[in-house]
């Protein structure tokens, strides 16, 4: 076997893509480094060959992937344990079994012995607007009500922290290659479950942005042969209206008037139809893996 994966004639493997524009509903912190008393967020700097440059906030795909994997590890199983404990699969010690609902898609490694290549890749994350993060004063307050100010260690330690500002749009993409419908169910569960858990510390949470007509900016593709156009927003775009228009236009190519495009070896769900499709996969995961 060139792929090393077990054969499964009942469940053919296909390709899946999730495209979305996420919107920060409140300030978010994605740590980059800590300078003296200032915690910085990750900023991406882009430039052109003729010398123009641009700086933007960023949700790193690696951080989204980490949250998604932990969502699966911490998913509650019917017997009362968590999925990672049931599968004996954690981080970094994974089980690396092709049958594990976590490792099958997110990959596993037993150093020097076994590698299971992850078949889901995370992308995007460069914000649309070039809005700079804002620095806020924070302090670690001791939890005592009556304070003896002579004790140095009980005084609050002030520090500053940068936050990505609310309202930033982040185009993001998840690509799953050669996975079965069952395996994609864990990706759909992890994708939806991770959204309210994105961001380090508090506050957490990010939402799927909506267009003016309340359509969620979400597209799900299930295919063997890619068709139409992929709704990908270039990291150079800074106008949120243009990003949203482009996303919808690309998603609806070549068929403009439907939220469900079907052609040979290709199926696409757009907006609410995409959200319902992801939720359907997600509840299949709950029924077949968590509640089985």
């Amino acid at each position: 076997m060139a792929t090393g994966l077990p054969e499964d004639k009942k469940n053919p493997r296909l390709h899946f893509d999730i495209y979305a524009i996420l919107e920060g509903s409140q300030e978010l912190y994605f740590g980059h480094e800590v300078q003296v008393n200032v915690n910085l967020v990750e900023i991406v700097k882009l430039s052109t060959k003729d010398g123009k440059s641009l700086e933007k906030c960023y949700i790193s795909p690696t951080k989204r992937r980490g949250v998604e994997r932990r969502c699966l590890i911490w998913a509650p199983v019917k017997s009362g344990v968590l999925l990672g404990d049931q599968q004996k699969c954690g981080i970094p010690e994974t089980c690396a079994l092709p049958t594990c609902p976590i490792c099958a898609t997110y990959g596993g490694l037993i150093a020097g012995k076994k590698t299971l290549i992850g078949r889901v890749t995370h992308g995007g994350g460069v914000a649309v607007q070039d809005l700079y993060p804002v620095e806020k004063q924070r302090a670690m307050h001791p939890a005592i009500l009556s304070n003896d100010m002579t004790k140095k260690e009980e005084k609050p330690t002030p520090f500053k922290r940068e936050y990505n500002q609310p309202g930033l749009l982040y185009p993001i993409y998840d690509h799953a290659l050669s996975v079965t419908d069952m395996e994609f169910a864990s990706v759909a569960y992890a994708f939806l479950d991770a959204l309210p858990r994105i961001g380090s510390g508090n506050p957490k949470g990010i939402a799927i942005a909506e267009a003016d007509d309340n359509m969620p900016l979400l597209v799900v593709d299930r295919y063997l042969v890619p068709r139409g156009k992929r709704p990908i927003i270039s990291p150079s775009v800074t106008n949120p209206e243009r990003a949203i228009q482009d996303f919808i236009r690309l998603a609806r190519t070549p068929e403009a008037n439907t939220n469900h495009i079907q052609s040979s070896h290709f199926e696409r769900w757009i907006g609410d139809a995409a959200l319902e499709k992801l939720q359907e996969y997600s509840s299949n995961f709950v029924d077949n893996v968590l509640q089985a």
């Binding site: 090393g4 990750e42 882009l46 990672g84 010690e93 290549i117 992308g123 068709r227």
Partner: protein, 274 residues
């Protein structure tokens, strides 16, 4: 020589790891090395005929290599002029050992702080232009079928081929021109020219085994046959990220717009040792 230009749209930050390198400092090339482009296009070729992606085993198990057959030489991919790109340098907590699960624990009785801090570079680009060159035009038409397909790209990353040009012909000429690809350092040094404005990188090419010419235009490309390569050979190359005033005068395969150094083609074929 016959050539194709592929327009590639990355959907993710990419890491094309510079080797040899440090474990703690993961650095990326600000372009796609020829070897990586070759493996990427091979996988797209396999996907385009409905084959599953090959798995690669742990390194010490001597895994098979799946890249384009030497009949089609991938020359790397570079940011399109006028588009945005950058190398994003950031910090990541990596694990020092893999035999524990403290990174996924909700309850930790003793914190062993079993991590090490990496600096990690990601290449973020709006659009890339890649080239494939071949001595014969036959077979290059298969690359048109790769349009729309996407796959993992590099140690980290994902990209989609959005457009594949028509096959065009390049003539061999000695001209002063901006190289569209990497330029082997050996060729630049041998020419005795003083040229600035380039960055110098250590790269690798495939060591082909056996005869590199095949009669079939699909064998080793649109099937599951591992590539007849048994390892990598290092070489040093110059990359010209910007237009410079002092351009090298060298042998190119050129159509006045695209300039492929003859030395790079010979080197990737394994015909010279640099």
């Amino acid at each position: 020589m016959y050539c194709l230009k592929l327009t590639i749209q990355p959907t993710a930050a990419m890491t094309f790891r510079i080797l040899p390198g440090s474990i703690l400092n993961i650095a990326t090339y600000p372009f796609v090395p020829p070897t990586t482009l070759s493996g990427f296009l091979r996988r797209l070729g396999m996907m385009s005929v409905g084959l599953e992606l090959p798995e690669t085993r742990v390194n010490n198990a001597d895994p098979p290599i799946y890249v384009l057959p030497p009949r089609y030489l991938a020359l790397g991919a570079y940011p399109t002029v006028g588009t945005w790109s950058g190398v994003h340098r950031t910090y990541r907590k990596g694990m020092r050992e893999f035999n524990h699960d403290s990174f996924s624990r909700l309850y930790q009785d003793e914190n062993k702080a079993n991590f090490q801090l990496h600096t990690w570079e990601y290449f973020i680009a709006e659009e890339l232009e890649g080239y494939v060159i071949a001595e014969f035009a036959e077979g290059l038409e298969h690359f048109q079928d790769l349009e729309g397909y996407g796959c993992k790209f590099g140690k980290e990353g994902f990209a989609i081929v959005t457009e594949v040009s028509e096959v065009f012909k390049l003539e061999r000429q000695t001209v002063e021109a901006h190289p569209s690809t990497l330029l082997p350092m050996e060729a630049l040094l041998n020419s005795g020219q003083f040229v600035g404005g380039c960055d110098i990188y250590n790269l690798y090419r495939y060591q082909w085994t056996g005869n590199i010419q095949t009669n079939s235009d699909q064998a080793g490309f649109l099937d599951q046959t591992p590539t007849a390569a048994d390892g990598f050979v290092p070489f040093v190359a110059a990359y010209f990220p910007k237009e410079t005033s002092h351009l090298p005068e060298l042998d190119y395969y050129t159509n006045k717009e695209i300039n492929i150094p003859v030395a790079l083609v010979n080197l990737l074929r394994g015909e010279v040792h640099a």
